[in-house]
């Protein structure tokens, strides 16, 4: 297992370097000149402009800029914004908010999705199952922004339970509604996947054995059925953790959450190359870590999988 982790970490290095390289050059290709954006319409003083370019490391060739950037990254230096703030500080402010939002959505989709899927699978063709199928289809087909507006309308404007937008981005209670909106589509997939998996496994021979052993229903389902049925669901959840981070960016916009989405939006508008690539670097790291965790979890759930 230790070797497996080590190997996976080694495999991540080229993936990481490749992604960062692509991102670096893409941010350099953003339309407009960052220096021009800084000065707006006014003609810049050439001396000031040269000083600014030097501070930002823009006065060397693009190749040299790339090498400088990569070198700095390895020492944990993400560069500075044009206004002179450390990019790492900007990330440190926004990332925890998005991670909270994504994790909250994740917990919501797992708990509610698996529960719906389990009961649907156990009551195939019954009223609960049919209702759940319609409900999940609905969730899948409504675009997230529309769902967000519906929620804002119902819970904030009609019922006045909450404010339409989030006031304190670190407050878990206030993040609840955005998290539900964010997790809703994945919830529908989790519920459907769980249902299919339960319905398939319930017919298996080992379930028949479990019943023949005289185990109580609670154990037959909880220990034998659920554990086997979770294997495909975990695979989905692994890829979804990354997707949630991306989806959070849209949801943050709807509810005015001051997370990565918000920060990225502003950075792109201001042509802040270092900030944009900094965020992307961190997001890539989160994706890679999530996929490693899922692979490990997968192997724990299914002993037939070898760490190979």
């Amino acid at each position: 297992m230790g070797r497996f982790v080590a190997r996976r970490l080694l495999q991540m290095i080229p993936v990481f370097l490749g992604t960062v390289t692509i991102i670096f050059f893409m941010t350099r290709m953003l339309p407009g000149d960052p220096a021009a954006a800084m000065w707006g319409d006014k003609a810049a003083d050439p001396a000031q402009l040269a000083a600014f370019k030097h501070r930002m490391g823009l006065d060397v060739s693009t190749g040299q800029q790339y090498l400088d950037y990569m070198g700095n990254l390895l020492t944990g230096n993400f560069g500075e914004t044009m206004a002179g703030r450390k990019v790492i500080d900007v990330i440190g402010e926004a990332l925890p908010v998005t991670i909270r939002l994504a994790l909250l959505a994740f917990v919501f989709e797992v708990v509610v999705g698996v529960t719906i899927g389990l009961f649907s699978g156990l009551r195939r063709g019954k009223a609960f199952d049919k209702t759940a199928l319609v409900f999940t289809l609905l969730l899948i087909s409504i675009p997230v922004p529309v769902l967000g507006f519906i929620f804002q309308n119902v819970f904030a404007i009609q019922l006045k339970w909450i404010t339409p937008t989030v006031q304190d981005s670190m407050n878990l209670g206030q993040l609840m509604l955005p998290a539900i909106v964010l997790g809703s589509i994945s919830l529908a997939y989790v519920a459907r996947l769980t249902r299919t998996s339960i319905a398939e496994n319930i017919k298996s021979d080992y379930m028949r054995t479990a019943i023949a052993k005289g185990l109580p229903r609670r154990k037959v389902i909880g220990t034998h059925l659920l554990r086997n049925s979770m294997i495909p669901v975990v695979t989905f959840l692994g890829t979804d953790l990354g997707a949630l981070m991306g989806g959070a960016i849209v949801t943050e916009g709807i509810f005015n959450v001051k997370g990565v989405g918000n920060a990225l939006y502003h950075a792109i508008n201001l042509n802040e190359g270092a900030t944009v690539s900094g965020f992307v670097v961190v997001l890539v790291l989160v994706y890679l870590a999530a996929s490693l965790i899922v692979d490990l979890l997968y192997a724990v759930l299914d002993p037939r999988i070898r760490y190979a």
Binding site: S204, D205, Y206, R208, T209, A210, I211, A212, K213, G214, L215, P216, K219, T223, H224, R227, N228, I231, L301, D302, P303, R304
Partner: protein, 350 residues
């Protein structure tokens, strides 16, 4: 010996010590599916006593497994449905018991061994856990006690290095070892009766005999009843006390094992016996009963075997033969022998 007080069961009772542990009476099971109603079991009667081995024989689809699943209470319902009959365990009809009462019999009093141990064991739980579960659920044993008992059981079924292998998973064992684990699981709480549904069919020929011997040995040691389902007549001869032959969901013949081999009283049994490959017949073409097994959605009228029977008469096509007590030429009852054939006399004596 021939002055049995009661006509029907006297023979069987004399054959083995003690009263039947399990008695299936006139059991009917059907499946409602999209294609109609499949009559899988149409009047099964058999019994097993403690320490006795009953072999249930029959072609694929004859209802052997469905009968066993109904006894265990693990029939898929729906689509399955018991439409008539009784299953008496120590004289009590299990079909009338509550789910909870039946659950307490399962695993503890009656245990089952399935054909395919790989798919019948849970792939994601260690064998030690799956064995120990019996003690934890039924006897409230602690995790540690359960593990110790699991190792003991694995030793009992002669799995080498049991203590080292207790945490291994089913896929890490060979087919024969996996089936030993199934046997160990069935044996865990020393049940009164074990139902083994083709326990060696999925195994390599070389290990079939070992596993069968182990099962027979343990059965004798614990004095359990054993219902051994198989379609392999060869396996039966050594281990069974008596045989029940099934066709289209009915028992067509029951007899003590050697009587059945020597002098079958049903044309279907006769055909089955002729179709066993024998060493002295090398080169000759193997006999096969003509025709196909019956369609359970449309069982033939009269004797279900009549379209395939060489000696069928008009009576066979209209009237279902009763399960007759078989007698010798002088009319004396033959112990434990019954045949569901209008022409059993001609078949046996002719």
């Amino acid at each position: 010996m021939t002055t049995a007080p009661e006509k029907t069961t006297a023979g069987q009772d004399r054959l083995v010590p003690g009263t039947p542990l399990l008695e299936v009476r006139d059991l009917h099971v059907e499946f409602k599916t999209r294609d109609g109603v499949a009559k899988a079991v149409n009047g099964v009667n058999y019994s097993v006593a403690a320490g006795e081995t009953l072999a249930v024989l029959g072609e694929s689809g004859s209802g052997k497994s469905v009968t066993a699943q109904t006894i265990m209470g693990i029939l898929d319902m729906p689509p399955g449905r018991v439409t008539a009959g009784e299953i008496l365990f120590r004289g009590q009809d299990m079909l009338k018991m509550s789910n909870e009462e039946r659950r307490k019999i399962r695993g503890r009093k009656i245990a089952m061994i399935f054909q395919d141990a790989l798919s019948s064991l849970n792939p994601v739980l260690s064998v030690g856990y799956q064995l120990g579960e019996m003690f934890r659920v039924h006897e409230g044993a602690s995790r540690k006690e359960a593990k110790a008992k699991a190792i003991e059981l694995m030793d009992r079924v002669r799995i080498p290095a049991a203590a080292q292998r207790v945490n291994d998973y089913p896929h890490q064992f060979s087919g024969g070892m996996r089936q030993r684990i199934m046997i160990a699981m069935a044996l865990a709480l020393e049940p009164d009766l074990i139902i083994a549904d083709e326990p060696t069919t999925a195994l390599d020929v070389t290990v079939q005999a070992q596993v069968m011997d182990l099962l027979a040995e343990l059965q004798a040691e614990y004095h359990m009843g054993l219902i051994l389902i198989t379609h392999d007549l060869g396996v039966v001869a050594d281990v069974a006390d008596k045989i029940a032959v099934m066709y289209a969901g009915r028992i067509v013949e029951t007899a003590p094992v050697h009587d059945l081999y020597a002098r079958p009283a049903h044309p279907y049994t006769k055909g089955l016996l002729r179709s066993i490959p024998r060493l002295d017949q090398k080169g000759e073409e193997l006999y096969a009963i003509k025709g196909l097994p019956p369609n359970l959605y449309k069982v033939p009228a009269g004797c279900a075997f009549n379209p395939r029977c060489d000696v069928a008469t008009d009576l066979c096509r209209t009237e279902i033969p009763a399960l007759h007590q078989v007698t010798d030429r002088d009319g004396a009852e033959l112990a434990g022998r019954k045949s569901a054939c209008h022409l059993w006399k001609e078949t046996l004596h002719g």
